[in-house]
């Protein structure tokens, strides 16, 4: 196979022909709106991938337009011809990753993050514990005041205030791995903890398990599970993503469980796409299909179980920012709204453009900080108009990003960002 043929296969060149260049994706693309050129639109990117496949531009020319894509997939929902933009995007990222010579520093940082931190629940736990120590000891305040954290790479400092108070190491280590409901057993589910969720939003994970338990589900938390691989796929590291997918498929015993439940829109999306990682007809492809069929968002399972009554009215005005990957990849959009409607007293003011990404997009906000903030500002204009006292989300990245947004607009005294699950726990859930 010639180099160009190999590249065409890698970037899914053939799939670019599904695009009829009608431009219907332009009005829904956040980066087209904020970066104001066709180069940063889905139609432009698809065309550029095609040009790379024809040798008319180089992979280096492709780098900037591809890396500035959020991967929010809003274009795939609106696309009249079902272009598989996700496959084209990830293929292009893989090609860039393979051909690129990165600076030593960037490569080391990325290697550390992708090979060590995200796949390791131990590392994420340790990070969580470090965050806890840091908060409890008063270091946080000091660091914020002295701008100590602003010296760290990848703009991490800007997100540091958005991280919640952390539970202590003891609390983490005490989590049970099989939780049974008090009354009737209605189904058995496995809980996918997610690495960022479990490392940084441990309490939300505990709340998720509790809501399932109260709804009558037995919950198992497989110890061997690992990162879903979404961030790796988005960065073009398909080999690592494949490895992680295999480890997860081995960790979950599908015979025993009805669903694999998660509470992170991005992780859920990746896991429903596991079959894309493997060649059709192979053993792992088949296994991935079985696995992805069982993946569900917590909101879907709670709606299906329909086992909760919310006893505490919550007199608040909220708005809801759906996770893009939940809407456009998992195609789940109704269940969170159905649950919110069950809470008495809650006033939901829908956003004008809920499907417009918040700019979090995995680690996009870390590596493309300025672009991400421009998108967040558009989102916050929409949020501000609704005057909510809470923004509800269903994904850790969105949650952190919305907190940053609230802080950027100086509304931290008037508004907070919350995971749907935490709000539901506040509403006094009891078994029906």
């Amino acid at each position: 196979m010639s180099d160009l043929q190999a590249l065409r296969k890698q970037v899914n060149y053939d799939k670019t022909f599904d695009c009829v260049q009608c431009g219907y994706c332009l009005p829904v693309c956040p980066t087209y709106e904020t970066m104001k050129r066709e180069t940063h639109s889905p139609r432009g990117r698809i065309h550029l991938v095609k040009m790379a496949g024809e040798g008319k531009i180089t992979i280096a020319d492709l780098k900037e337009p591809i890396e500035k894509c959020l991967g929010c997939m809003a274009c795939t929902t609106i696309c009249p011809t079902n272009v598989q933009y996700g496959r084209i995007l990830e293929g292009a990222k893989e090609a860039i990753e393979q051909q690129e010579v990165k600076s030593g520093f960037q490569r080391k940082t990325e290697q550390f993050l992708f090979d060590r931190v995200f796949p390791s629940s131990r590392w994420m736990g340790t990070l969580g514990n470090a965050a806890w120590l840091y908060q409890k000891s008063g270091m946080r305040k000091l660091a914020q005041v002295t701008y100590l954290t602003s010296a760290s790479p990848l703009n991490v400092s800007r997100f540091e205030k958005a991280v919640p108070d952390q539970p202590g190491p003891l609390e983490r280590s005490l989590r049970k791995h099989r939780i049974r409901p008090d009354y009737k057993l209605r189904m058995t589910v496995a809980f996918f903890t997610g690495c960022v969720m479990d490392g940084v939003f441990f309490d939300t994970n505990q709340n998720t398990i509790e809501l399932l338990r109260l709804s009558g589900a037995e919950v198992v938390v497989p110890r061997q599970q690992t990162c879903c691989g979404a961030l790796h796929s988005h960065a073009g590291k398909s080999a690592t993503a494949e490895e992680l997918a295999v480890r997860n498929m081995e960790a979950f015993d599908l015979e025993e469980i009805d669903y694999i439940v998660n509470n992170a829109g991005g992780c859920g999306a990746k896991m429903t796409e596991y079959p894309h990682l493997f060649e059709r007809g192979t053993y792992w492809h088949e296994r991935a299909e079985d696995f992805s069929e069982k993946v569900r968002d917590i909101s879907e399972v709670l709606v299906e179980l329909n086992g909760l009554e919310f006893t505490e009215p919550i007199e608040r005005t909220i708005t809801y920012q759906p996770s893009c990957h939940m809407t456009h990849v998992q195609r789940v959009s109704e269940p969170p709204l159905l649950l919110l409607n069950q809470v008495r007293g809650l006033k939901l003011r829908p956003l004008k453009r809920p499907d417009f990404c918040c700019g979090s997009a995995g680690i996009y906000n870390l590596v493309n900080y300025d672009e991400s903030m421009k998108i967040l500002d558009v989102k916050m204009d929409d949020v501000k108009e609704k005057r909510p006292d809470a923004v509800i989300t269903t994904n850790p990245g969105c949650l952190i990003q919305m907190r940053v947004g609230i802080e950027r607009t100086g509304l931290e005294k008037k508004m907070e960002a919350m995971h749907l699950v935490d709000l539901l726990m506040e509403a006094g859930p009891v078994p029906k």
């Binding site: 599904d18 050129r37 180069t39 639109s41």
Partner: protein, 467 residues
């Protein structure tokens, strides 16, 4: 000698002039065929910037290709001779409704859907409704004289333009027409500019006419066992004293494609269906509905469906909108034609299309705006298959000639651009074409604006293959 790209960066700001290879390729295409790499893309935001670019172009002799959102189906914004793509889509959107005059003043970047929405706040409407109204710019709609289903009753873009502010090819800012409904002051330059496909001027502002929004609409869907009866039903309706707002046609191939793609409950055994919309006062349309239904039944309609609520009606229109995506699933390349014939000739045109389909063994799907004779025969093919594309080229050529023979024309609403230029002489005659050329030469002596469009070049036949 001064470099013209540097000159553009000097008269504008450097960040308005895009020269990176990725940016240039991103403006090398539209929704039709072919790709042509410009040397620069210039993003302008006011008329003075447009004037500066055109003055520089006349000094340095580089071509300028105005572009809205690049949704054109005939190659209008393609930079076929390189030079500059003039991107007007990032111009700040302005829509100023003047309800007491029933007019609206818009910037070239305004979206037709937004214009209509702004008008609706005053109980008014902007009638032209091309299917890309939520994406395309009004500038592009004006340049191409876009149509849409409602064209049947209300007319097309040109029927809604009272005045324009333009920059001439030599970089002079001026205006045409005015703000009044009646206006016979000199040549009607407004109508000349509208539909000139960006070859005579860059439109920088437009004053458009609005109409009162009809208070009610009623949809009906009618199935026919043969195409000829469907065509006759259109003529009969239009001569019965009733003017529906839309009369859309789908052939059996389209019906089946939609049902395979996203089942909508369309009658798959029907040879053709008509989707009709009446608008006006509720009492009026109730009476009209009865008359239309009777006409349909008299002409042998096998089924008429009258949706009882807006949701059901929306489902029918959604099915009509699914035709394009549904047929695009069949093969990757869609050659979308819009040859238009006098309304009475629709059945004859349908027969010609059937014959062409068999002769060249190509997949033709026919749908479109039957009420105004504007059909959209779409040929589904694969542009990587050279042999097939050669057959498609011949089929398209014959479709054009068939339309002309029936007293019709090359394009109802997509424009001539690059694709249909070879057929211009056949359509409008030697003298007519020569008069048009002379006008172009006097407006644009240095051939700056959108060269390579409308007028046939060396290539005298349709070419869809680019390798």
């Amino acid at each position: 000698m001064k470099n013209w790209i540097d000159e553009l960066k000097r008269v504008l700001t450097p960040k308005q002039v895009l020269t990176e290879l990725a940016d240039r390729h991103s403006y090398s295409f539209d929704a039709s065929f072919g790709e042509y790499l410009p040397e620069a893309v210039v993003q302008v935001k006011n008329k003075y910037e447009v004037a500066s670019v055109l003055k520089a172009a006349n000094e340095f002799h580089f071509p300028v290709y105005p572009r809205g959102k690049g949704t054109c189906l005939s190659g209008g914004p393609l930079p076929v001779h390189g030079g500059v793509v003039l991107d007007l889509s990032q111009w700040p959107e302005q829509i100023k409704v003047r309800p007491e005059d029933l007019t609206v003043v818009v910037s070239p970047s305004a979206l037709p859907a937004n214009i209509n929405q702004a008008a609706e706040e005053y109980g008014l409407m902007y009638a032209p409704d091309p299917s890309s109204a939520h994406v395309a710019t009004i500038g592009g709609n004006l340049a191409e004289n876009s149509g849409g289903p409602r064209g049947l009753k209300y007319g097309v873009t040109k029927d809604f333009v009272l005045g324009l502010e333009i920059v001439t090819p030599e970089g002079e800012i001026t205006w045409t027409g005015g703000k009044t409904i009646k206006n016979v002051t000199g040549f009607d330059l407004t109508k000349l500019i509208v539909g000139s496909e960006g070859t005579l001027a860059v439109i920088t502002e437009a004053t458009l006419k609005l109409l009162p929004k009809p208070p009610a609409v009623q949809t009906m869907m009618v199935s026919f066992k043969d195409v000829r009866s469907a065509g006759e039903a259109v003529s009969k309706t239009l001569t019965s004293g009733i003017l529906p707002s839309k009369m859309e046609f789908m052939d059996q191939a389209c019906i089946r494609a939609v049902e395979n793609f996203q089942p909508a409950g369309l009658p798959i055994d029907a040879e053709a269906i008509l989707i009709i919309e009446l608008d006006g006062h509720p009492e009026g349309i109730a009476a009209e509905l009865e008359i239309v239904e009777k006409i349909m039944i008299d002409l042998g309609a096998s089924e008429t469906i009258v949706p009882g609520n807006p949701e059901e009606a929306a489902r029918i229109w959604h099915a009509r909108k699914q035709v394009s995506p549904a047929i695009a699933q069949i093969k990757p390349t869609k050659v979308s034609e819009d040859a238009t014939v006098p309304r009475s000739k629709i059945p004859d045109m349908m027969e010609s299309l059937q014959a062409i389909k068999e002769k060249y063994k190509v997949e033709i799907f026919v749908f479109g705006h039957a009420g105004d004779g504007n059909l959209h025969p779409n040929i589904l093919c694969d542009k990587r298959d050279q042999e097939e594309m050669a057959r498609v080229e011949s089929a398209v050529e014959e479709i054009m000639l068939a339309a002309i023979k029936l007293g019709g024309t090359l394009s109802g609403e997509h424009g001539i651009g690059t694709l249909k230029a070879p057929f211009m002489e056949a359509a409008i005659g030697k003298v007519g074409l020569d008069m048009m050329k002379r006008m172009k030469e006097s407006w644009d002596p240095n051939n700056i604006l959108n060269p390579g469009k409308i007028f046939p070049g060396q290539v005298q036949r349709l070419v869809l293959r680019n390798e």
